[in-house]
C-alpha cells in the first residue's frame, strides 16, 4: 500500500525541519529501515527512514527547503500500484495531531518552491578560458568577452591577467567549498549571536586537582563494581552544579528586559562530533549523584557520537562545560552558548611544581578553569565567587563523596 512519509516531530519544540540531503532519488527501490533522506532541525540532523519497502515514487521536497512538521516528504508505493496522491496527502494531514498544522496552501508553496536562485550575470566562457582563469586565479566576472557570441576566450583571460600585473600564482587555492548549512550554519549563527550580544569577561583560576584525582582513585573499584566509570568531567559537572546552586545568578538567561534565574541545573556538555560541535544537556544535574551523572553523561555522549541524539536532549541548557584540556590546551576563552549566561572552559590537567603548606615545594596536578560570563547578567565579583567555590569543591572533594 502506498504510504506517505512526513516530517516527523522529533521534539516538543520542533516546528520545522530543513531537508538537507536526499539519500534516495525518485524511482529508487528502498528497503524498510533504509535512510531515504536527512533533515535538520535547529538542534541537530536526523535520518528519515523508509517505513516500508517499495519504490520511492514521489519526492515532494527539494534539498534546502524548509518544511513544517507533518508536511509530506515523499511517497513509497509498490511496483505497479496506483494511488491517489492528493487523497494520501489529505489523509496524512488529517492524521497529524497538531491542530495548528500549517495551512495547506502555505504548505504547498513551501514544498514546491525551490530556493530562489541568486541573481548572477550569465557568463559565456570557453572551457579553455575557464581552465586558464582557474589556473591563473583570474576573476571571470569582470572580463568582457570577445569570442563568438560575446564569450570569454583564452585571449580575453590572458589579457585580463596581464593587465592585473601578472600575479604569478593563485593567491588562494580552494580545495573544496563547504556549504554553510545544517549544523555548520547553526553553529555559525549561534556563535555570532553570542559574540554580537554578550559583553563577556573571562576569569581564569588554577585548580589543584590532586585531591580530586586521589578521590577518584579511591572510589574507582567501588564505582566499577557498580558498572560505572566516573571521569574527571563527571566530577566537574557535579562540582559546578553544586556551585551553581549556591550562585544561582550564574544559572540564568537574559530574556528581553528581565533575567530568568533558574533553580535547576541543566548542564550542557560540549561534545565534538563528526558533524561539528554538539552540546547535549544533562537535565537536573543538581539533583543527581556523581554516579548518576557519570551514567547519563556517558549515554548522552555516546548518542552524540552515533548521531542519535534527539532535539529534546539538546534543549533547555542553563550552563555549559567545555573541556579541550584533553587536546593539550592550557587555557582558552569559549563562547557563551546562548541563551545561557556563562560557560566554563577546562584546560589541560598536568603535574606542576607548586608551593604548598608554608613554603614547601610539591608536585601537584593542576589545571585552569576558564569562566566566560555575560557581564550584562553577572558582575565580576559574584562570578569570581562562583569560580572560587568550584575550585574549593574540587580541592576538597570530600563534599562530593558525601553526596555520592
Amino acid at each position: 500500500m502506498a504510504k506517505v512519509i512526513t516530517v516527523p516531530r522529533l521534539g516538543q519544540t520542533m516546528e520545522t525541519a530543513t531537508v538537507t540531503t536526499w539519500m534516495k532519488q525518485e524511482g529508487d527501490i528502498v528497503n524498510k529501515g533504509e535512510v531515504i533522506c536527512i533533515i535538520e532541525t535547529d538542534k541537530a540532523s536526523f535520518d528519515v527512514e523508509a517505513p516500508q519497502s517499495g519504490v520511492l515514487v514521489k519526492v515532494m521536497a527539494e534539498e534546502g527547503s524548509v518544511l513544517p512538521v507533518g508536511e509530506v516528504l515523499a511517497v513509497i508505493a509498490q511496483t505497479g500500484e496506483s494511488f491517489d496522491l492528493e487523497k494520501l496527502i489529505q489523509q496524512a494531514k488529517a492524521d497529524l495531531e497538531t491542530p495548528e498544522a500549517v495551512k495547506p496552501a502555505e504548505a504547498r508553496t513551501v514544498v514546491r518552491g525551490p530556493l530562489p536562485p541568486k541573481e548572477k550575470r550569465e557568463l559565456k566562457v570557453s572551457p579553455l578560458a575557464r581552465r586558464i582563469a582557474e589556473e591563473k586565479g583570474v576573476t571571470l566576472e569582470d572580463i568582457i568577452g570577445t569570442g563568438p557570441g560575446g564569450s570569454i576566450t583564452k585571449e580575453d583571460v590572458l589579457r585580463a591577467w596581464e593587465q592585473k600585473g601578472s600575479i604569478p600564482t593563485q593567491p588562494l587555492i580552494v580545495s573544496k567549498k563547504i556549504p554553510l548549512k545544517g549544523i555548520r550554519k547553526l553553529i555559525a549563527d549561534r556563535m555570532s549571536l553570542s559574540w554580537r550580544t554578550a559583553p563577556r569577561v573571562t576569569q581564569v583560576m588554577e585548580v589543584d586537582m590532586s585531591e580530586a584525582i586521589r578521590f577518584r582513585e579511591e572510589c574507582w573499584s567501588d564505582w566499577e563494581a557498580k558498572g560505572v566509570r566516573v571521569s574527571i568531567n563527571d566530577i566537574l559537572i557535579k562540582a559546578v552544579s553544586l556551585a551553581l546552586m549556591e550562585n544561582l545568578e550564574m544559572n540564568s538567561s537574559l530574556k528581553e528586559n528581565e533575567i530568568e534565574v533558574y533553580s535547576n541545573v541543566n548542564m550542557g556538555i560540549a561534545v565534538s562530533a563528526e558533524r561539528g560541535l554538539i552540546v547535549p544537556v544533562l537535565r537536573n544535574a543538581h539533583q543527581k549523584t556523581l554516579l548518576e551523572i557519570a551514567r547519563e553523561s556517558a549515554i548522552l555522549i555516546q548518542k552524540v557520537r552515533e548521531g542519535k541524539i534527539g532535539p529534546d536532549e539538546l534543549s533547555f541548557g542553563t550552563f555549559t562545560i567545555t573541556n579541550i584540556g584533553t587536546f593539550g590546551i592550557d587555557l582558552f576563552t569559549p563562547i557563551i552558548n546562548p541563551p545561557e549566561s556563562a560557560i566554563l572552559g577546562v584546560g589541560k590537567l598536568e603535574k606542576k611544581v607548586k608551593v604548598v603548606d608554608e613554603d614547601k615545594i610539591a608536585i601537584r596536578s593542576v589545571m585552569n578553569l576558564c569562566l566566560v560570563f555575560d557581564h550584562r547578567v553577572v558582575d565580576g565579583a559574584p562570578a569570581a565567587r562562583f569560580l572560587g567555590r568550584v575550585k574549593e569543591i574540587l580541592e576538597r572533594p570530600v563534599q562530593l563523596k558525601e553526596l555520592n
Binding site: S126, P127, G147, T153
Partner: protein, 324 residues
C-alpha cells in the same frame, strides 16, 4: 616527384598487390572489359585475365556475398560497389555477415576483403548516385572505414587495406579520380588509423574528409588573408580514428571546424565533435563548428547541388564564426 591522378595511383596499388599476392582478385560490375564506371580497373584484364578480374551480375548482395565466401576460403578479394548509394542492396551481407564473421567464429574465420566504392556529389548524378554514406559503416563494429583524399594516400591505403586481415570499407570520391598529386615511384604503404596533417597552422583546426580536404586547403589559403592560420587534418581512416593527432591539434589551436560532404545530421562530424568534447573539452576555446551538407537529398540541378554541398566560402564562414 612524379605527378599522377588519383585514379592512376589507385590502379597502381591494385596492380602491385595483385602481382605480389595471387590470392588477390577483383570482382564487380563492368570492371573487366569496360574498366569500371570510373575506369579505375581499365587495362587490368589484359594483365590478369578473367579469372582475377571478374565481372558480376547486377547484384550487390551477390558481389559482397561471393567476396566474403572467397575470403573465408583464403582469398583476398577486392569487391567493387559501383556507387556507395547501392550498398543498401548489400547491407545484410556487409553488416550482418562481413562485419560479424570473425567475431561470431571466435576469430577462427577471417573476412580479409576490401569493399571499394565511391560516393559524393558534384556531377549532377542526382539523389541516388551522389550520397556520402560513410557514417552508415562507421557505426557498424567490425568494419574498418577508409576514405582517402589524395593520389598518394589512395595508393598507400588500398595496399594496406588489401593486406589487412579484417574487412575494409574503402570509400573513394567520384570527383577525386582526376585530381593530380605527387606519388612516389618506389613501393610504400600508408597505415590504416593514421591521420595526416595536410597543412599545419596555429589558429584553428579544420578536420576534413575526402573531397572536402581539397576545399578546406583552398579555404585555408584564403584565410591567411584574414590573418588566420588554419591547420587542415585529413583523418584518412574514419575507423580506426587517429584521435591523438586530432586532440594534439585542438590543444594547439583551441578551435575546431569539421567539414564533410555528408549531410550534417548524424554525420561523422558529430562523432568527432563528441570525442573532442569528451576527451579534450578543456582545450576548447570556442564551440565546435560543423560545416556539412544540408539535411536534404542531393539535388539534380547543378546550381542546387552546389548549394547544398559545402564550398570554400562555407568553410571560411564557418571558421570565421569562431573568431567572432
Amino acid at each position: 616527384m612524379r605527378q599522377i591522378t588519383y585514379r592512376e595511383a589507385l590502379r597502381e596499388g591494385l596492380k602491385e598487390e595483385m602481382r605480389r599476392d595471387s590470392n588477390v582478385f577483383l570482382l564487380g560490375e563492368d570492371i573487366a572489359e569496360f574498366g569500371g564506371s570510373y575506369k579505375v580497373t581499365q587495362g587490368l584484364l589484359e594483365e590478369f585475365g578473367h579469372s582475377r578480374i571478374r565481372n558480376t551480375p547486377i547484384s550487390e548482395a551477390a558481389i559482397i556475398g561471393a567476396a566474403l565466401g572467397a575470403s573465408l576460403a583464403g582469398m583476398r578479394p577486392v569487391a567493387e560497389l559501383m556507387y556507395i548509394d547501392f550498398s543498401g542492396v548489400a547491407m545484410d551481407q556487409i553488416v550482418n555477415q562481413v562485419a560479424k564473421v570473425r567475431y561470431i567464429f571466435g576469430g577462427k574465420a577471417k573476412a580479409s576483403l576490401v569493399i571499394r566504392t565511391q560516393g559524393g556529389a558534384g556531377r549532377s548524378s542526382a539523389a541516388q548516385h551522389a550520397q556520402s554514406l560513410e557514417s552508415w559503416f562507421t557505426h557498424v563494429p567490425g568494419l574498418k572505414v577508409v576514405m582517402p583524399s589524395t593520389p598518394k594516400d589512395v595508393k598507400g591505403l588500398i595496399k594496406s587495406s588489401i593486406r589487412d586481415d579484417d574487412p575494409v570499407f574503402f570509400i573513394e570520391h567520384k570527383l577525386l579520380y582526376n585530381e593530380i598529386g605527387p606519388v612516389p615511384e618506389e613501393e610504400y604503404l600508408i597505415p590504416i588509423g593514421k591521420a595526416d596533417i595536410k597543412r599545419p597552422g596555429k589558429d584553428v583546426t579544420i578536420i576534413a574528409t575526402s573531397r572536402m580536404v581539397l576545399r578546406s586547403l583552398r579555404a585555408a589559403e584564403l584565410l591567411t588573408e584574414e590573418g588566420i592560420e588554419a591547420e587542415v587534418i585529413d583523418p584518412r581512416t574514419l575507423v580506426p580514428l587517429d584521435e591523438e593527432t586530432i586532440f594534439n591539434s585542438v590543444k594547439k589551436t583551441g578551435k575546431l571546424v569539421i567539414v564533410h560532404e555528408a549531410s550534417k545530421r548524424s554525420g561523422y562530424g558529430a562523432e568527432i565533435a563528441a570525442l573532442v568534447c569528451e576527451k579534450a573539452f578543456y582545450d576548447l576555446d570556442a564551440p565546435i563548428k560543423r560545416v556539412a551538407a544540408f539535411n536534404t537529398p542531393i539535388p539534380f540541378a547543378p546550381k542546387l547541388e552546389n548549394y547544398v554541398i559545402p564550398d570554400e566560402k562555407a568553410i571560411i564562414n564557418g571558421v570565421k564564426e569562431l573568431f567572432r
